[in-house]
Symmetry: C2
Subunit: 203 residues, 2 copies
Amino acid sequence: MGRRSTHTPEQLRQLILDAAQSIIETNGLAGLSAREIARRISYSPGTIYNMFQNLDDVVLHIEARVLDALDERLTASLADGPPQEKVSRLADAYLSFTQERPKLWNLLFEHYMPADSQAPAWYQQKLELLMSRVETAMAPLFPPGAELERNRAARVLWAGVHGITSLATANKLSNVTNEAASLLVRDLIQNYLAGVTANAKKA
Amino acid sequence: MGRRSTHTPEQLRQLILDAAQSIIETNGLAGLSAREIARRISYSPGTIYNMFQNLDDVVLHIEARVLDALDERLTASLADGPPQEKVSRLADAYLSFTQERPKLWNLLFEHYMPADSQAPAWYQQKLELLMSRVETAMAPLFPPGAELERNRAARVLWAGVHGITSLATANKLSNVTNEAASLLVRDLIQNYLAGVTANAKKA
DNA sequence: ACCTGAACACCGTTCAAGT
DNA sequence: ACCTGAACACCGTTCAAGT
């Protein structure tokens, strides 16, 4: 046994991640197991543990890929226009990503860190990057110096869009199908931003 | 073996559900197993399957309890006042429930029906009841005949509050702690309702 | 050095057999 | 009638031993 080295360590890591991602895309997180990954890449289960700390660690690296793919989508969707339109474009890009790759997107929210450990710093940074796309798109709506308000509004919209998508996908919004979700998202953005700009003018 | 009947079937069902709930409250859904329930109630694993279809079915019944408890909280929070205040009260009640019993609340969203089966009708009805609390509280903000808009606004706010809570709890809102979540919720309600009522007046 | 695979401690679920 | 517990097909993870 042992010693075959047909792959470099880096290749092996990618092999593992590719297999894991493919399992998740078809069967969801519930379908993922270290043994199934091993079977697919024709290595023994132990090998997974030579390359990663454990299965949670594998999942975390898949999440990194998803966050990167999501950011690509968001940035690709940007185009000139008024802030409201930019934000709507971002939301549409987010929604279409979740609808095209539901299992992968869902992974981000159904997987929890083991209670004793927090998400690593690079993970938090990827989240912040995503949110900063929204914040930048909205910037013209706020007077200079209103960084706090702008930051808060970006978080509220981000979380709001997430909430609608998440409940619609899980069929927990009572009668709101996945398609109708985009109507709710538009409504949220329009009315929330109307409220925010009205208040900004008052101040 | 067999035949002891120290409990009626209904008692046995409640015994199982009580044990399951207690496991979830301390260790989360991940800590739940049919064998662990059996151990706690001093029955064999097979007994769980005499009383429930499977473990998912047990979880579904726990979810029913959580939805009922949540509705009790929401209705208890109601008091006279302008609609905006009523909605805020509901949101506060929701938030405090999630903070007091995070594992139980989380269950509602981390547990998915098996892909082949939908949530039963009574489950959907409980969800609708919760959402109707919001809709009723907001009713005076809408002109008569605007049922559609009212219904949509209730869903948007419900999903929005859920999204904020959910991301804050999972530490995925970057720097937004669980306490700060209530600030975001207030901001969402205030600005969204400001936008909605401005539009309603225009129409 | 690299990889294996047996071993340990768990699962969900079923169902023949016991009282 | 009610309940058991062995059986089957799975898990995650470790680590001595093989090449």
